[in-house]
Amino acid sequence: MAAERAKAEASGQPWNDPDAVPYIRIENVTKKFGDFVAVNDVSLDIYRGELFALLGGSGCGKTTLLRMLAGFEQPTSGRIYIDGVDMADIPPYERPTNMMFQSYALFPHMSVEQNIAFGLKQDKVPAAEIKERVGNILDMVQMRQFAHRKPHQLSGGQRQRVALARSLVKEPKLLLLDEPLGALDKKLREATQFEIMNIQDRLGITFIVVTHDQEEAMTLASRIGVMNHGQIAQVGTPKEIYEYPNTKFVADFIGSVNLFEGQIVEDEPGHVVIACEETGRPIYIDHGISTAPGAYCWVAIRPEKMELLKTDPGSKSNCSPGIVKGVAYMGNLSIYLIRLDSGKEVKVTMSNQRRAAEHAIDWDDRVFVTWHANSPVALLS
């Protein structure tokens, strides 16, 4: 047991440790606005030092869940514990959390320095200490030279850094970030992502990030909770979510995926065979899914896990002929749109390892789409 725990700790995965005490515990939380159920019976454990991402489309309830953690909304039912304390009767201004707002919510009539010092002043921190802490955080986000500017005199990226600094300066137990990088262009976004990860590493604060951007969630998070219609669809590390989605929704939401409808004809502990009209030849998966043969299911295969051949490999399964209906050259890789003989269209990405033109696959070529037996994931819902 102890060895297992040490292992879980060493790998930085407290959620795999049965003895670990969650830092934030969300218990059967439901939030209704009138008849609309924004958050539906969500239970979630988040551990100290985690960078947890709540991922979902707009209106999935992720922001509502975050606002309940900050105390701006009260759960209709259910409980929220932070560090073992029930948050039910604790107003936002007494919670050990700080939030970075999607709109940044910087006080327009205060300078950068005053904005950052605001939270410390509320806690009656001595002036000398405020000055020092604000100075340190300004250095960290590289905004020292803009300390006396007003928010409207800053660019979007600078405002975002001020908002981050303001939420960090009080060194909260829990930092809530609502779409923190939404307004930034790609380059700045990547730089800031790594900055956030750095800060998290250095200060050991627990982060919860709300985002609709799966790439952002994948890069930042130690774990991701995918939300749909107010419910948590799946919780797992970015790798788990991407490689082993548990539902059609998650498979479709994270990254791009080809989905086939099929019927299980063989279900053994070591493999599954699924008959599929769309691919023609059956799909063979080299791991069992333990369900009754005859059941209908979805098979998800990622575009980059498929391969295009110009000649028929002759295999009885995991191969489907079709015609190239589109090629998008992206530089490092190319995306092919293939219409299978069944009429189903699939996406295949292949990396452009060689500059060679002789193997090039072009519009209207006859091709065979193949994949390895461990690539598909069978989904029952």
Partner: protein
């Protein structure tokens, strides 16, 4: 380019105006600005210059009753500022100015104290209720201002609605003496000008980003303090706009002191009227009016200047 003029007849109005402006040698932007400028010239600057001119003249028994400044019969008199000097010589004028400013200032403060909570309440209402409440604020304007002031005479008088009701309820024995006192004047002015305070305040408070208050609370600030350090400073432009809209017309108010204030209420608006109608001293009346304008415009301009300066970017 040739087609532009050929088909001018079928062009939309905007394009036609554009062409006219171009022909007159105006850039479109100048043409757009020209309209309000012309309006102000015609209906503000020109009448003001006429009043200014009259204020330098002297009374004579004639039609019109002042010395002409130009043309035949114009007498270049020795003391151009004669009327203005009289403003300082006679304590009547200084007292009238002072009590008008006092009345306007106090009324503005009362309007602000009543109007701010009202505007705040309306701005934080559900949108449907908000529209209804705003309508209620604007509704009195659909009745003539004069009628509403007369109605107050009916309410505040010795035999008025207020006294009758209070006496019927047994709260007072003898009727309260409100009409023709400063209290009646304050009631009239606050009642009349309150919407002018509420509307700009509402416009300001309504567009405030409420996430700022959440951010303040999130950083450990209690709601009441957040109101003081976030909401009030951010509504400052609304407070200024509303206060000016109440203060400026209240200074020169004539009807309310005349009808509600009784004979002893010495207000500058009344002085202007008396000089003009009773003394037939148009030049003096004009001088009093110009002095009000200067008294109001100069502090406001200074204020704006310093406010703009404060808003400029500190490097």
């Amino acid at each position: 380019m040739a087609t532009d003029t050929t088909y001018q007849g079928s062009l939309p109005l905007g394009r036609q105006l554009h062409h006219i402006a171009m022909k007159l040698g105006l850039r479109p932007r100048t043409a757009v600005i020209l309209v309000p400028y012309l309006w102000l010239m015609l209906f503000f600057v020109a009448p003001f210059l006429i009043v200014l001119k009259i204020s330098f003249a002297q009374t004579i028994i004639a039609q019109p009753p002042y010395t002409p400044m130009f043309g035949p019969g114009s007498v270049p008199h020795e003391d151009l500022l004669l009327n203005y000097n009289r403003l300082f010589d006679d304590l009547l004028y200084i007292n009238a100015y002072w009590s008008s400013l006092q009345l306007a200032f106090t009324s503005t403060v009362i309007c602000l104290l009543i109007g701010y909570p009202m505007a705040y309440g309306i701005a934080r209402c559900a949108p449907t209720t908000r529209a209804l409440l705003l309508l209620a604020i604007i509704l009195p304007f659909w009745t003539s201002f004069l009628i509403r002031v007369y109605a107050w005479m009916g309410i505040l008088g010795k035999e008025g609605v207020l006294n009758n009701t209070l006496q019927a309820l047994g709260i007072i024995d003898a009727p309260l003496n409100i009409l023709y006192t400063p209290v009646a004047m304050y009631i009239g002015i606050v009642y009349t000008y309150l919407p002018f305070m509420i509307l700009p305040l509402y416009a300001n408070l309504e567009k405030m980003d409420l996430s700022l208050l959440e951010a303040a609370q999130d950083l450990g600030c209690r709601p009441w303090k957040a109101f003081c350090v976030i909401t009030i400073p951010l509504s400052f432009p609304g407070i200024i706009a509303g206060s000016l809209l109440v203060f400026i017309p209240a200074v020169g108010e004539y009807v309310i002191p005349e009808l509600l204030g009784g004979p002893n209420a010495l207000m500058i608006g009344r002085v202007v009227y008396n000089e003009f109608a009773q003394n037939r001293d148009w030049p003096m009346s004009a001088a009093v009016a110009v002095a009000i304008l200067l008294l109001l415009v100069i502090p406001i301009m200074l204020f704006q200047y310093f406010q703009n300066k404060a808003q400029e970017a500190p490097k």
